[in-house]
């Protein structure tokens, strides 16, 4: 049986909705485990949805200790459960799994729970190649080929990609600065953000390199926090406390072959495929996107995302993002919360929550006017995208 026909995917459009979101405080929160943070977020998400743990029959966890611990502590008796590796690439996959499980009747109301104590736990992402820093030595390669050369941080992979982008297209540090500066502007309007002091282009350019050509402001934060989302069928969503935000489109595409080395197309092909899948299922176009949540583990990833989705031609992203275009009143507001660079490094989860809050129009000073369609996209060797809509 062929189960990936377009018609089947179209049937998934608006079959499910996000009815609850919850986030903890973000920052340095010693004394709270990843589980504590995830559960605090889940309590907030349940309250947001007007549900209790007894209403849940599905559970997906990420970066907390285990699904057993979360289910046991919350009194959840799942019909369907899963735990995904602590990699940001898995966030979109988790949301897609939840949609599929609800659409196929495996579960009716699913909690997605994420907790991260990376700050107080002293996680550094580089050197040891622990599971939480799986990109430390190149995504798919053998550490024996990278560790002896000191190729030991995820940021270096992106530094190499950006270096090549600069050589190929003439992209500059002055252009890239726009990502960090804009996202900090957004964070300054977000009371939950870790960093809220605006930075200028000059401050960016004078800041220190970590792995050159990337500077400290090009790197995501390392902070503690928890995020939870609750998804259910559109039918059930009508009985929840908040107006539902519908899951309209899903897309995913791997580019894992030869992922030992930085991709020579900046993942453009995989991003285009995943993005188009999501648009097709959502029955919308790129131009319908009111706000884009682009996975900004490192700032060049925003450039690669824009080129892959076709908002600009290959090589033109550095120029395209200038002049307020990705700001709150721009043509395509990006990461309105401040993203991983300035709000919180919740590995994509908080970006999805921000998408929901934008479509609920509860973002206060950083609200994008009339936001109706929001897109999440994570550019990586596995690209995922989710398109959300305020209307079904």
């Amino acid at each position: 049986m062929q189960i990936h026909r377009r018609a089947d995917r179209a049937a998934l459009r608006a079959a499910t909705a996000v009815v609850g979101v919850g986030t903890t405080e973000f920052g340095n929160l010693p004394g709270s485990s990843a589980d504590d943070l995830g559960l605090t977020a889940l309590e907030a998400a349940l309250a947001d949805a007007g549900l209790t743990a007894r209403d849940l029959d599905g559970l997906i966890v990420n970066r907390v200790s285990s699904y057993e611990a979360v289910a046991s502590r919350m009194g959840i008796e799942p019909r369907w459960t899963a735990q995904l590796p602590a990699e940001g690439r898995m966030t979109g996959i988790a949301i897609q799994m939840a949609v599929l499980a609800i659409a196929t009747g495996m579960a009716s109301t699913i909690a997605l729970v994420y907790g991260n104590n990376g700050r107080s736990g002293g996680h550094t992402y580089g050197g040891g190649g622990a599971s939480a820093s799986a990109a430390a030595e190149g995504y798919g390669t053998n550490p024996a080929l990278t560790l002896p050369y000191g190729m030991t941080s995820p940021g270096a992979f992106y530094a190499m990609m950006f270096q090549r982008h600069c050589a190929q297209y003439g992209t500059t540090a002055e252009q890239l600065a726009q990502v960090a500066v804009t996202l900090r502007d957004h964070a300054s309007l977000n009371p939950h953000a870790v960093f809220t002091d605006p930075i200028s282009r000059e401050i960016y350019l004078e800041s220190r390199f970590i792995v050159e050509p990337l500077k400290i402001y090009d790197y995501c934060l390392i902070n503690d926090g928890g995020v939870a989302m609750i998804l259910t069928s559109t039918d059930r969503a009508r009985d929840c406390a908040q107006p539902p935000v519908h899951v309209l489109g899903l897309g995913q595409q791997g580019q894992l072959r030869n992922s030992d080395f930085p991709p020579d197309d900046f993942w453009r092909e995989a991003i285009a495929t995943a993005g188009q899948q999501a648009y097709t299922m959502a029955d919308c176009a790129r131009s319908d996107v009111d706000v884009l949540m682009a996975y900004d583990n490192f700032s060049p990833n925003v450039l690669f995302t824009l080129e892959g989705l076709g908002f600009c031609a290959p090589g033109e992203s550095g120029a395209w993002i200038q002049d307020g275009r990705i700001g709150l009143r721009g043509e395509l507001p990006i990461n309105t919360s401040g993203g991983h660079l300035s709000e919180s490094y919740m590995q994509g989860w908080a970006l999805n929550v921000e998408a929901i809050r934008q479509l609920r129009r509860t973002c206060g000073d950083r609200q994008v006017q009339d936001a109706t369609i929001a897109q999440y996209l994570c550019a990586a060797p596995v690209v995922t995208s989710v398109v959300y809509g305020a209307q079904a």
């Binding site: 550094t124 050197g127 190149g138 990278t146 000191g150 030991t152 190929q168 050159e212």
Partner: protein, 134 residues
């Protein structure tokens, strides 16, 4: 371990100051590190090892201003590069000499040299070809 994935031949080659790169035993395509299935022709034969010239071009690079490993043999800042060898495969290595990243240019010619560290491990270090005075 399945011999299709083993790097032993490459690592032993480095100790002899030889650069050995894996290639598909069926179609000859150089692909490194070795793959269980050739990405070009799909062959599942055990890859063969070819001695290559060590010459190639700087494909991309990054300069580490921070050292993540406590016992790493190079002081920071140091340069990690991806080199595209003339035979087609890519490989990671360091760049020799003062790490003036501004003096490097993507596409420039480099050739492999070998260094042996205090722990008696041998590593690849690429030297810009114009430094030979040729």
């Amino acid at each position: 371990m399945n011999p299709r994935y083993l790097l032993t031949a490459h690592l032993e080659g480095l100790t002899r100051h030889e650069l050995l790169i894996s290639a598909c035993a069926a179609c000859g395509t150089q692909q490194f590190p070795p793959k269980a299935v050739c990405t070009r022709c799909g062959s599942t034969e055990i890859p063969r090892w070819n001695l290559v010239s060590g010459e190639g071009q700087l494909w991309t690079y990054a300069t580490f201003h921070k050292t993540y490993l406590t016992d790493f043999h190079l002081p920071s800042p140091y340069v990690v590069a991806v080199i595209e060898l003339d035979e087609g495969a890519k490989i990671y290595g360091n760049i020799a000499g003062p790490t003036m990243s501004s003096s490097l240019r993507i596409g420039q010619r480099v050739r492999a040299e070998f260094t042996t560290t205090d722990d008696e491990n041998s590593h690849l270090i690429f030297v810009p070809a114009d430094k030979e005075g040729t």
